[in-house]
């Protein structure tokens, strides 16, 4: 079973959002997403200062087999991308909610349509049936 921490919010396209202090947020892809993609070999994250619209693709994660866009569920300005992923994309596989974070932004708030952990778990269960 994939891990779904209680303190995060989720999207139906398998991103997660962590609320930090002072209107800042951290985003990444879920354990389910990294498992479905397989070994990641290339991750492209946005540069600091970039303005993101809600629903905009802000990162690319590529596994051995395919490339996928990652979409931001909230609008804001990029504080920074996770520079460690340039040389260690496997961090997203190993620790998707920790060292494998993709971007930190200032903005928000998250849309009301986002899922909490329980709702995301039932969404996954229904999707994989």
């Amino acid at each position: 079973m994939s891990q779904i921490p209680d303190d995060l919010q989720y999207t139906r396209s398998h991103e997660w959002v962590r609320t930090l202090a002072n209107g800042r947020f951290e985003m990444g892809i879920t354990d389910h997403a990294q498992s479905a993609l397989g070994d990641l070999v290339f991750v492209e994250v946005p540069a600091a200062g970039r303005a993101l619209a809600a629903g905009e693709a802000f990162a690319v994660v590529e596994s051995v087999k395919a490339a996928s866009d990652v979409y931001s569920p909230l609008a804001g300005t990029v504080i920074g991308g996770n520079a460690a992923l340039a040389s260690r994309p496997e961090l997203v596989n190993q620790d998707p909610y920790g060292e494998g974070w993709l971007v930190r932004i200032e903005g928000g708030p998250p849309a009301a349509a986002m899922l909490d952990a329980a709702a995301y778990a039932s969404y996954l269960a229904a999707e994989t049936k």
Partner: protein, 370 residues
Amino acid sequence: MGLKTPLHGVHAAAGAKIIDFGGWEMPLHYGSQIAEHLAVRSGAGMFDVSHMGVIDLRGPAARTLLRELLANDVARLAQPGRAQYACMLREDGGILDDLIVYFAADDWYRLVVNAATRSKDLAWIRAAAAVQGVGVTERTDLAMIAVQGPQARARAASALPHACRDAAPALPRFGFTMAADWFVARTGYTGEDGYEIILPATEAVRTWETLLAAGVAPAGLGCRDTLRLEAGLSLYGNDLDESHHPLESGVGWTVAFEPGERAFVGRSALESARRAPGSVLVGLLLEDRGVLRAHQAIAAANGPGIVTSGSFSPSLNRSIGLARVPAGTDTGEQVRVDVRGQQLAARVVAPPFVRNGAATFSLAPAESSR
């Protein structure tokens, strides 16, 4: 639901990620595609390739039939127990399939063909075989396991039937030995040494488990693709297809133009193509950060081209690909590839990319790619 090989239950029990491949439910990986790739390069891995088609051609005219159907010439097989890689062409030179032909006896040849093309191949072969009076049998009673890697032959020894154990270690490349319904061939699709073993379907599970106990790691179709790409081997449906002939697909070396009087299907089209080269298949090494993928557009000095296979190379830690580019594109030339809207730099290299676990070219130290 898709077709299942005799080893499907073993894959499922091992927790493999199962995908559809040409209508078959096959293991993509058993946890980590990259770990499986590296296991084959450094030790030994095994692949269930039972989805591939095994076709027996029997009758005194079998050789005559194959000399007509295949662009390579089975008459070049010096003796029974030798195999050959060949393309089967349409009249216009387009590649129907690429296959291995095994010379078992004067009146018995065996073909191993791709899974996605087996029905098409069978119809094509049967139509020609009927004219020549050659019997065509699809051997759905058999399974096939490829054991590949520098340690593959040593570790596979205990899994072979006694009747093959003496002959197998002495096999030359592309040689094979057989006993009852077992075929053990020193062939493969990874660029490593090893065997491809054709065996009764009923013995597949026991053999797989014996190999596992001998230290052979299960490996999925995912790493089979990155291994073959590093080895510079073509994949039907990507690098080879009916719209292109062998001379523009990197497999011109498999076409036997001599003897000149052999009238194989596609010969006249290839004779014309040989006089006016259009495009060629080359290797690409991505110099910028990113990943090459099939269908990406290329701008080369002599004109446009296209990536036919692209992926990340676990052995080289960077992206590599095969590409069809205009004839005259030179090794060492830098081309631009449209990777998701960015024009990235790639260098033309001569495959294979990896041989015996090491790069076959010098990697520039200042590369920005990983």
